[in-house]
Amino acid sequence: MQISTDYAESAVTTRRDRRATFVRWLGPACALAGFAWALAQPYRITLLHPHGQGLWWLLSEPPLFVVIVGLAFHWIVAPGVLEDLEAVERERSER
């Protein structure tokens, strides 16, 4: 009986770890994709060659948008999601 309980607990922990890893890496993966895009198409970042560019062209930097979204998710959204994931799993195991 003890073995089956341990096995169930370990399965739950593995599932939680997988979900936590996904949330932890989602933002950095997005930011990395934006960075790779910037390296592949540097001409999409007009800040690197600003002469003769209008205001809108200097404000719109698509690869940087992707990096910013990824980092914002990682720093603002992900920490709370990970905390709550831990809390919900803890509450479930206490029941």
Binding site: R19, F22, V23, L26, G27, C30, Y43, G54, W56, W57, L59, S60, P62, F65, V66, V69, G70, F73, V77, A78, G80, V81, D84, L85, A87, V88
Partner: protein
């Protein structure tokens, strides 16, 4: 006066890139929500309202797009129907998140919005697929919207499904990618109509 006003309006491809960023935010939120589950994601009120709020805001921002980028009646009708259906989907999601709406049928506004958006995008693109990258992007977006409405329908019917949730997030990333790739006079697959204008990178 008209010249000064037109300088204040951003080029249309920039608007596509801003909306692409909105779709990317939605994709990250919905992917994380699908993986951790609604009971974890909805635990904090601000997070519960995050993706419906972004969707609602994107719908509202489509109204100025309708006003300022009207170069034909079909453009105005297409942008208008898109704005209305997207705002409705966002508003319904906000109502469900706040608990003010209880009927799960409100979830169907999301596939409806995506289907109407797909139709609108297809209807307002009057050039052939390979006319320019923008034309190709619009055709592709239209069919992504119509096909993606089936995934949105699966999400509406099975809101706790991990597979449906992740597929929907991938769909949003695809839409975002096509929007980011949009540039009005850029070639597609090495082809650009001579009528499209001077190509640029």
């Amino acid at each position: 006066m008209i010249l000064a006003a037109s300088r204040l309006i951003p080029p249309s491809e920039h608007v596509h890139w801003w909306f692409a960023t909105g779709f990317l935010i939605l994709a990250l939120c919905l992917a994380a929500r699908a993986v951790v589950g609604p009971e974890v994601w909805d635990r904090r009120p601000w997070r519960r309202y995050l993706w419906p709020g972004v969707l609602f805001l994107m719908g509202l921002l489509l109204f100025p797009v309708m006003v300022f980028y009207t170069n034909s009646t079909i453009h105005m009708v297409a942008h208008g129907s898109w704005a209305e259906s997207m705002t409705l989907a966002g508003a319904a999601a906000l109502g469900l998140a706040s608990g003010k709406l209880h009927n799960p049928l409100w979830r169907l506004t999301l596939p409806f919005g995506l289907f109407v958006s797909g139709l609108a995008v297809l209807a307002h693109e009057q050039q052939s697929w390979l006319y320019s990258r923008a034309a190709f992007g619009h055709h592709m977006l239209g069919w992504l919207g119509i096909g993606g409405a089936l995934i949105a329908l699966a999400v509406a019917l099975r809101p706790r499904s991990l597979v449906a949730g992740l597929c929907f997030a991938v769909l949003l990333v695809s839409i975002s990618t096509v929007l980011y790739a949009d540039r009005d006079t850029a070639p597609i697959f090495g082809h650009l109509s001579p009528e499209a204008g001077i190509p640029h990178r």
